[in-house]
């Protein structure tokens, strides 16, 4: 699935965007299937806004976001659901877990949507990221680091062509970041997918094909 951005300008940041140069805002950008893209974005430049535009959560922009040549603005709610269940996966910056469900139940809500990953594999992944013992804890009671690891695993529990990540490791220590990167690489590769990671600072977590400054 190819991604095209055409003269994309977020309406709330329109003035800000015009004042400075960006590799993405008000430009035409082409990202081919399977690319690994890093978007470096200082605070307040619209990193989360961009990820939300790509995922279809927000539509308050001028220009176009096109997936395989189709404008995302034209997608109806059912079409968006279809994309989100099978083609686009996301790790939100604010995790967005169900606080009244346990970590295991949070993963279950996503896993049972497509049933593409066996429960035993989910257990293995939890163990790899060091949260196996938190399976029965309420998500609302987990630390941010633990919640972030649950959110990372949740994003991998579906088939996808693109994995969107918005500061996915902001609450993790170096060791946990490395474990998470390994797992993500493995699953992205298995899905023949691409990824778009947005973060504040430059990094080499993945073998990026493009690095863009927002």
């Amino acid at each position: 699935m190819q991604l095209e951005l055409e003269q994309l300008i977020p309406i709330p940041l329109a003035d800000e965007v015009r004042r400075r140069t960006s590799a993405i805002w008000a430009r035409d950008v082409l990202v081919n299937k399977g690319e690994y893209v890093f978007v470096q974005a200082p605070s307040g430049t619209g990193k989360t806004t961009l990820i939300h535009f790509l995922y279809g959560v927000r539509r308050d922009y001028h220009g176009a976001v096109k997936w395989n040549g189709q404008s995302a603005k034209g997608f109806g709610t059912e079409k968006l659901s279809e994309l989100r269940a099978g083609k686009l996966s996301i790790i939100f910056q604010d995790m967005r877990l169900f606080p009244r469900l346990t970590a295991w139940e949070n993963l279950g809500v996503k896993r049972t949507l497509t049933n593409s990953v066996e429960p035993q594999i989910v257990k293995d992944w939890m163990a790899r990221l060091g949260i196996a013992d938190k399976a029965d804890s309420m998500a609302g009671t987990l630390s941010y680091g633990e919640q972030q690891r649950v959110a990372i695993i949740r994003a991998l529990l579906q088939p996808f062509n693109w994995l969107l990540m918005d500061e996915p490791f902001s609450h993790l220590d170096r060791m946990n970041i490395e474990r998470a990167i390994e797992l993500i690489k493995e699953v992205v590769s298995k899905n023949n997918a691409g990824l778009i990671l947005a973060d504040l600072e430059d990094n080499d977590y993945f073998p990026y094909t493009q690095k863009l400054v927002l």
Binding site: E78, S81, F98, R100, G108
Partner: protein
């Protein structure tokens, strides 16, 4: 239940059991009241339209005759209705049908026992079948038949049993004992006559007379009283509402007389109709309120799960799937409430059937078609509201564009 359904239950349905039961109870109560109101209206309608022979409530039939005054006393034809007059009565307010009560112009005798020679003169009348309250199975006669069925006014039997028999020291007679007695009916004069076997086939509450099948009376009149006046002296009039002042005025203007008690009785009927209409309106209002309560319960449930619905949509659940999930949760509840109402309505109708039977009033054992139609319509309206409210509430949670 699958893990997914369990999780969705946990996420979406936490409005509290007591609220659920209260809203279901109000829904069932509202529907029951609506069905009962329709049932009351329908049952009264059935009773008042008098489809059953022994319905004393059902008489909207009046016997109308011309008043016998000092001036008309000496003129035998003065109380006969002409065909023009019959047409006028047909066109009178509230009149739905007019039947002529034909009377015999030939001599008729009932002979109880030929050996003893006990006989009595009698009069006979006939009326079109559709105006009769009692129609025995073998109520038919054609030329050549030797047996004549007779219907006697129940009033006559009462007069005998409670008046004549008591004063004369004679035995009182039950209806069945009278029906088992056969006697001979002799018609014609000493020179020319015929004898038929007669028996009482039934009793009438509606017509104070001795009735024989119409073909028999016409046969007797043609054969034994040819050329006499054949017009009716009494009419039986089917009316929608005989208590209508316009109808009463019409009778007075033409100096016609009828059984005044019947008119008073029909005032009660008007009252009953108004009461059942008011009950219906009240029930409709309650049904509306209970539907509103239930729909608000659904909307409250969805509003409480707002954040969860939003997140489910964000991680890939489709609005259609969530609407389907909610419908599968709420529609069975609606069906249960409607079934409860239906069972209660059937139980009430059954018990009304047996209770009223003891009072010689007939209502059906099971609710009639208007009740089922009311149930069907209320089910459709209710389901529409449920589906609409679920769809609307979930679409409000769709990702803001």
């Amino acid at each position: 239940m699958s893990q997914q359904k369990l999780l969705l239950n946990k996420l979406l349905l936490h409005s509290g059991r007591s609220r659920l039961w209260l809203s279901l109870l109000s829904l069932a109560a509202g529907t029951t009241l609506l069905l009962v109101a329709v049932m009351v209206w329908w049952n009264f309608n059935e009773l008042l339209s008098g489809k059953h022979d022994d319905d004393s409530l059902g008489s909207t039939f009046l016997t109308v005759s011309k008043r016998v005054t000092n001036e008309t006393m000496g003129r035998p034809g003065a109380t006969i209705f002409t065909s023009d007059e019959i047409e006028q009565v047909k066109a009178a307010p509230q009149v739905q049908g007019v039947g002529a009560l034909l009377s015999n112009r030939f001599p008729a005798y009932a002979v109880m026992n030929a050996a003893i020679g006990f006989s009595t003169e009698m009069f006979l009348e006939a009326v079109p079948e559709k105006f009769m309250d009692k129609l025995p199975e073998d109520w038919a006669w054609q030329e050549g038949n030797r047996e004549v069925p007779i219907i006697v006014s129940r009033e006559f039997l009462n007069l005998y049993n409670y008046g004549f028999a008591l004063s004369q020291g004679l035995p009182q007679l039950s209806e069945s004992s009278i029906q088992s007695i056969s006697f001979q009916l002799k018609i014609g004069n000493a020179l020319q006559g015929e004898v038929f076997n007669a028996r009482v086939a039934g009793f009438s509450d509606r017509i104070s007379s001795v009735l024989v099948p119409e073909p028999f009376l016409k046969y007797g009149n043609d054969k034994y009283a040819p050329g006499t006046m054949t017009g009716p002296s009494r009419l039986i009039v089917k009316t929608k509402d005989p208590s209508d002042p316009r109808f009463v005025d019409y009778l007075q203007q033409h100096d016609y007389v009828t059984n005044a008690e019947q008119l008073r009785w029909n005032k009660l009927r008007s009252v009953v109709e108004i009461v059942s209409l008011a009950t219906g309106l009240l029930a409709l209002l309650l049904m509306g309120v209970s539907t509103l309560v239930f729909v608000l319960f659904i909307e409250l449930t969805i509003a409480k799960a707002k954040a969860a619905i939003r997140l489910l949509l964000e991680i890939g659940y489709s609005p259609g799937y969530l609407v389907g999930f909610m419908l599968r949760k709420f529609i069975p509840l609606v069906v249960v409430a409607l079934l409860d109402a239906m069972i209660i309505a059937v139980a009430i109708q059954c018990s009304a059937h047996y209770k009223l039977q003891q009072m010689k009033l007939h209502v059906a054992k099971f609710p009639g078609w208007p009740v089922w139609i009311a149930l069907g319509i209320s089910a459709m309206v209710l389901l529409w509201f449920v589906v609409f409210s679920i769809k609307r509430s979930i679409s409000q949670e769709k990702i803001a564009a």
